[in-house]
């Protein structure tokens, strides 16, 4: 304490300028993630247009986006869960369960297609609720809790469907798949609308703010009067709901209640979310970044197909992209924290200098 000099105001002024420089740097790093991702995507597109005549066709691009919709919708829900520093492995199984319910309830039990859809969505939310309760009330780690429900939900889907795909699907699904709004496939529009709603919820509602606070610092959130348990449960319910909606999309795409589809999809979703800059440590990320992550993964997949890379290499390439993105996230974090610490120490330890 005895070290503190009387020229306190100088020191504070000094520190403030140091910080404003820092601030420029931080927003730069933040930007780098999204802009960097966008740049990589554009660069990839440019290279692909040269290397493959098929790539830059409306048909191919539409195809890439359309197949990305399923991952994107699941990833919307997953983003909520990862923002609270959780993880939801059950999404692919929930997707399959919703898919077989939406067709099976109509074909086997004569329900109306609308009612079957509602039931499918409710089932997804139900699994999400179970996940949320297990994580908050039983304090089971999210990884384990959702691993259990992942296995259970997949099993239930097999039991319900008899282990095979269920067809034909109600006309509704065919219309959904074929539908276009302003010339754009309806499923793509639906995905965009869902992402926009999710982003508004995140950035402009009390719930969304509570999600960031709970993920960023659960103790501080609780001390600020936020019911963190309820927030956590809600994110899992949203994740279940989104996975169920994706289940309807997959039903439309495959024109079947797809019992055996989406194996390993949960990992692709988590990868896309992380590539999109949503931190696995919670509290950081948004839907825009997530969508870029989904598109990048979709493009890698497409490139691998178009360039006739042997199919077994496709997962190696995807894996490398994921590793690179995760490494970038860790590096970015370290850089940010180290930079901050250095700056604070530097301003604290340095002798006051006159600024006027």
């Amino acid at each position: 304490m005895a070290l503190e000099s009387p020229s306190m105001s100088d020191r504070i002024a000094n520190r403030a300028t140091g910080l404003s420089a820092l601030r420029g740097k931080i927003s730069f790093i933040d930007l780098m993630q999204s802009v960097g991702l966008l740049a990589v995507i554009l660069l990839g597109c440019a290279i692909m247009s040269i290397m493959s005549p098929v790539f830059a066709t409306v048909r191919n691009i539409e195809n890439v986006l359309q197949s990305a919709t399923i991952i994107a919708v699941v990833a919307i829900g997953q983003t909520f869960v990862i923002l609270i520093a959780g993880i939801d492995l059950s999404v692919a199984s929930v997707l399959v369960l919703a898919s077989v319910l939406s067709v099976g309830l109509v074909n086997f039990y004569g329900w109306s297609p609308e009612l079957a859809i509602v039931a499918a969505l409710a089932a997804g939310m139900g699994v999400g609720l179970v996940n949320g309760l297990a994580v908050t009330k039983l304090r089971i780690p999210a990884l384990i809790a959702t691993l259990a429900t992942m296995t259970i939900a997949r099993g239930l889907a097999y039991i319900f469907s008899g282990g095979t795909n269920i067809a034909p699907v109600p006309k509704l699904f065919v219309e959904l798949q074929a539908g276009r709004i302003f010339g754009i496939p309806a499923v793509i529009m639906l995905t965009i609308v869902l992402a926009i709603i999710a982003q508004v919820v995140l950035s402009r509602t009390q719930f969304g703010r509570s999600v960031y606070a709970t993920g960023g610092n659960p103790l501080a959130a609780r001390l600020a009067g936020i019911n963190t348990e309820r927030v956590i449960i809600a994110t899992f319910v949203i994740s279940g709901l989104m996975a169920a909606i994706a289940g309807l999309l997959i039903t439309a795409r495959f024109e079947a209640g797809a019992a055996t589809a989406a194996q390993g999809l949960e990992l692709a979703v988590i990868a896309a979310v992380v590539i999109g800059g949503v931190s696995l440590f919670g509290g950081e990320g948004n839907m825009g970044g997530m969508l870029l992550g989904v598109i990048l993964l979709g493009l890698v997949q497409n490139a691998v197909n178009l360039l006739n890379v042997p199919p077994n290499w496709d997962s190696v390439v995807s894996g490398l992209v994921i590793a690179a993105a995760a490494a970038l996230d860790v590096y970015r974090r370290k850089y940010l924290e180290a930079g901050m610490r250095k700056k604070v120490i530097a301003t604290k330890a340095s002798k006051p200098t006159k600024l006027s």
Partner: protein, 502 residues
């Protein structure tokens, strides 16, 4: 005692000698030119208020820090700043909480990192034998194959001491070894310490409990504000002299003026929590600043956590502005009109990834809503107003809160609560880790809030802060309120006396 005097007369050998130790951290001079000796066959007690520099000295001896100036030598050999080197040269440190690997057996823990090997494999028999040798000297009742995690804190500590013995340590540093022990366990520990002393180890004993110091120590070294106050044989000292050495004579005058005191805004009645709090009752009135003093671990933060509803309590009641609030429900407490500025703002109050503005509005999101959506305009309005009122220095309200200095971060936490106009505000170590300028700003602010009619519970380990601001001082000790002193009776000496004895 006679044996001790003999040792003193016989010119005991210095086993550890530290000369001119200086260690600074950003903004703080933690140790300033301190000399310190440990003699073989003696217990040297290291005393001082919170923040006097004891921990820094211990960490230097343990090799965790390197000194800016000065050096430590053991048996004439200079020590390098490296924990492993400290162990090799013969300094073993027992930290406040046991550092054992819970899943490993007692024997494995005693031999941790030095497992005897044969042909590259750990020899279980030799490991066991050497562990048993060490155990026999300090804790013969322990089974060498029990996992360390299953032992009581007291036994874990004995295992650490056994580890130190098995390393042939010359100096044993014990940092508040008795905090988690029961009286019989303390007796056993002291038995072990006396035994080690007789075998010629030099022992450094850090404790806040003066009775213990008088029971076990041969010499006392006192630090204050990072400087050495003095080293004296225990026979020359008594309780009051030690406290005077710790506190110093130059205690600041109180600066708080008399204020109108209103009705009760916070009432705590017979609050009990097993092993943490016992029978706590007190009131805070509107416009009153109630200081809460006590040593680290006396239960002050735990009390704050119970009042605020973060931690549950077993019995008792908390009333805020005449309304009883349900236990373990921070939201209800906040709505009833309480605010809490916690001790560790980075861990407990701020979401470091979020902006200053977002952190300020975190506890009043329902007030910035229009049609269910957060209004950025309203949010900005509140943030700008509070930042101006508290003179928060930040490039903008959108800056990440983690980039601000400690003092400004603290102001952000304060702003969050002040925006809600609470009736009572609990401040837990509000000036911890804050530089002097910001400290006085925060003190001024506390007085201003009290003048405005807010009731304040000020928890602080800094006696000058307590003395200059409080209308009344509560002293906590071992989970109970040991004294409630009106301002006229509150002096450093009385507070320290109630905090350490009785």
């Amino acid at each position: 005692m006679s044996a001790v005097e003999n040792l003193v007369d016989d010119q005991p050998r210095e086993v550890l000698v530290a000369r001119g130790l200086t260690k600074s951290f950003p903004g703080v001079l933690a140790l300033d030119n301190v000399d310190f000796d440990v003699r073989a066959g003696e217990v040297t007690a290291l005393l001082g208020e919170n923040g006097a520099g004891k921990s820094t000295l211990i960490k230097l001896m343990a090799g965790f820090y390197s000194a800016d100036r000065g050096e430590i030598s053991v048996d004439g050999k200079p020590m390098h700043a490296d924990p492993a080197a400290a162990h090799r040269i013969g300094v073993a440190t027992i930290h406040q909480d046991a550092h054992l690997v819970p899943a490993m057996s007692v024997a494995e823990n005693i031999m941790l990192g030095r497992w005897p090997t044969r042909y590259g494999l750990v020899s279980v028999n030799r490991q066991r034998q050497r562990a048993l040798d060490a155990l026999a000297r300090v804790a013969p009742h322990l089974n060498a194959s029990t996992p360390a995690g299953r032992l009581s804190p007291a036994d874990q500590q004995l295992v650490e001491i056994a580890r130190a013995i098995s390393e042939d340590s010359k100096v044993l540093v014990m940092d508040e070894p008795t905090t988690s022990l029961s009286p019989p366990e303390i007796d056993r520990l002291f038995g072990v310490v006396n035994d080690l002393k007789a075998k010629g180890l030099g022992i450094v004993f850090v404790s806040h409990w003066l009775e213990e110091v008088f029971r076990i120590a041969d010499r006392v070294t006192v630090l204050r504000d990072g400087r050495l106050v003095g080293t004296r044989p225990i026979s020359e000292l008594d309780h009051d002299k030690v406290i005077r050495m710790m506190v110093g004579r130059d205690v600041r005058e109180t600066i708080a003026e008399a204020r109108p005191i209103g009705e009760i805004v916070l009432s705590v009645r017979n609050l009990n929590r097993d092993n943490v709090l016992s029978n706590i009752s007190f009131d805070v009135r509107a416009g009153e600043i109630v200081g809460m003093s006590g040593l680290v671990g006396a239960g002050r933060s735990e009390l704050a956590a119970c009042i605020f509803g973060i931690d549950p309590y077993d019995s008792g009641a908390v009333e805020i502005a005449g309304r009883q609030i349900a236990p373990n429900d921070p939201k209800a407490a906040i709505e009833a009109g309480i605010g809490l500025v916690p001790e560790d703002r980075r861990r407990q109050a701020l979401v470091s990834l979020l902006a200053v503005r977002t952190n300020i509005t975190l506890s009043l999101l329902e007030r910035v809503k229009t049609w269910g959506f957060l209004s950025i305009t309203k949010e900005e309005e509140i943030a700008a107003r509070e930042m101006k009122a508290l003179a928060v220095k930040a490039p903008s309200s959108r800056t990440r809160v983690s980039t601000l200095s400690g003092g400004n971060q603290q102001k952000v936490v304060l702003a969050r609560w002040l925006a809600r106009h609470p009736k009572v505000l609990i401040l837990d170590e509000p000036t911890k880790g804050i530089d002097v300028g910001a400290k006085s700003e925060i003190s001024e602010l506390v007085l201003r809030l009290a003048r405005g009619g807010m009731g304040i519970l000020l928890i602080s380990s800094e006696l000058p802060e307590i003395l200059s601001l409080s209308d009344r001082v509560l002293v906590m000790r071992s989970g109970r309120i040991a004294a409630s002193l009106p301002r006229s009776e509150a002096t450093s000496e009385t507070i320290m006396s109630y905090a350490t004895t009785g």
